[in-house]
Amino acid sequence: MSYLTAARAGFIACHACGNVEVRAAPRRARQHCSRCGAALRQRQANSISRTWALLIAAALLYIPANLLPVLHTSSLFGDQDDTIMSGVVYFWVSGDWPLAIIVFVASILVPMLKLTVLALLAITVQRRTPWRPLERTRLYRLVERIGRWSMLDVFVITLTVALVRFKSFAVITAGWGALAFAAVVVLTMLASMQFDPRLIWDAVHDESGADTADSAPRRPPDSGPSS
């Protein structure tokens, strides 16, 4: 089953309201949605270079995010610095292993997964491979969905810092790792927003006349409801 894309048929879809209209002749001219007024773009502008820029920034900040302490505890028993990983280890040794798993998944696994998946998507789109478009789109959806959960540790740090303020016994303050970590989460979320999944499908060769990329609307066969 081959599908006609809006781009090939000479249409353009509004990213905000979803309205589809005929693309105006000159490609460079700014076209605005006739329904909601949003600026229309065939594809996200400079999608891949923007994704790479945000991704590289996130990958660089991922190093201090894991090496610098996120929490600094000063108590009667001395001072202690905690990184994200040492927090996970602390939960694990003290027997709270479900908690250790939650924090490990949200703070370590999810950011790593996001960085690798987005890099993989950006590379495959750059090379215009028609390789497994459906699976790659699913990976993209997964990254979009789970990305936000990495903020978990930032919220835990915020609440911990505010609660543990016992002047004489123990005071916990936030460390610079928290800033780097929050930046990684925000940057990877921005990177996944900049990535345009339609670019995955643009490389897919439709068997029926892929070479005729003209703007004349063609008529593909009707597709019945599928499951």
């Binding site: 006609l4 909601c36 789109t137 993209y140 919220f155 835990v156």
Partner: protein, 222 residues
């Protein structure tokens, strides 16, 4: 100009005809399985009612302390805003801003904006700045993280039990309720409101033109 009876999948750009009963059942793209229409779009009353309830719960959640720590008689408690303030004073201004936006500002903006468009649309009126408000909802939605905060609160509580006695306060339960309500509210796709508003603006310019030959988006019950 006439509205076309077409939609393009936002994830793979496949050109499809609008399903017959758009917005009544969940519809997926036959090519890449992206969710095109959500069934919740017809339940404007439900979404509006939940948004009002969520807004009230939001105020309770933000106004009261979340938990109290009791360490041998010395107590310490905090509201969310108080915690953000502590972070700010510790020199973590950027992190404080990120937490403030994702747990206070953006969820609040989303709820208020949703009510601003839903209330008039339910009575058949398209409010002023309709396009701008809907686009604001689309902008803030990915950044609202109340459900992540809820998990963060629970993790913090378990973490603190080894240190001191933890007393749950009003906002803890309010955040729990708010998480559940927002889960339903964010299932509502603001895109559906543009289609509904099209039907409300009774001008011949907005009549739909039918396109034959292009596959219709198939409807699936989920």
């Amino acid at each position: 100009m006439n509205r076309l009876d077409l939609i393009a999948c936002h994830e793979c750009d496949a050109l499809l005809r609008k399903p017959h009963h758009a917005q009544q059942i969940n519809t997926r793209c036959p090519r890449c399985a992206a969710l095109l229409f959500r069934s919740s779009a017809t339940r404007l009353d439900l979404i509006a009612a939940l948004a009002v309830a969520a807004l009230i719960t939001f105020l309770i959640a933000q106004g009261f302390p979340i938990v109290e720590l009791d360490l041998n008689g010395t107590t310490s408690q905090t509201t969310l805003i108080g915690a953000i303030g502590v972070l700010w004073n510790d020199g973590m201004e950027l992190v404080a801003v990120a937490v403030f936006c994702s747990t206070f500002l953006f969820p609040l903006v989303e709820l208020v904006a949703l009510l601003y468009v839903l209330m008039p649309v339910r009575s058949g009126v398209v409010p002023p700045a309709f396009d701008l408000v809907l686009r604001t909802i689309q902008f803030v939605r990915p950044w609202g993280m109340v459900e992540v905060l809820m998990l963060g609160i629970l993790v913090t509580i378990v973490k603190m039990t080894s240190l001191a006695r933890v007393v749950p306060e009003a906002a803890l339960f309010a955040f729990g309720g708010l998480t559940l309500m927002l889960a339903v509210v964010v299932m509502f796709d603001p895109r559906a409101l543009w289609d509904i508003a099209d039907a409300l603006r009774p001008s011949p310019a907005h009549r739909t033109r039918t396109q034959g030959g292009i596959p219709r988006a198939s409807a699936h019950r989920r």
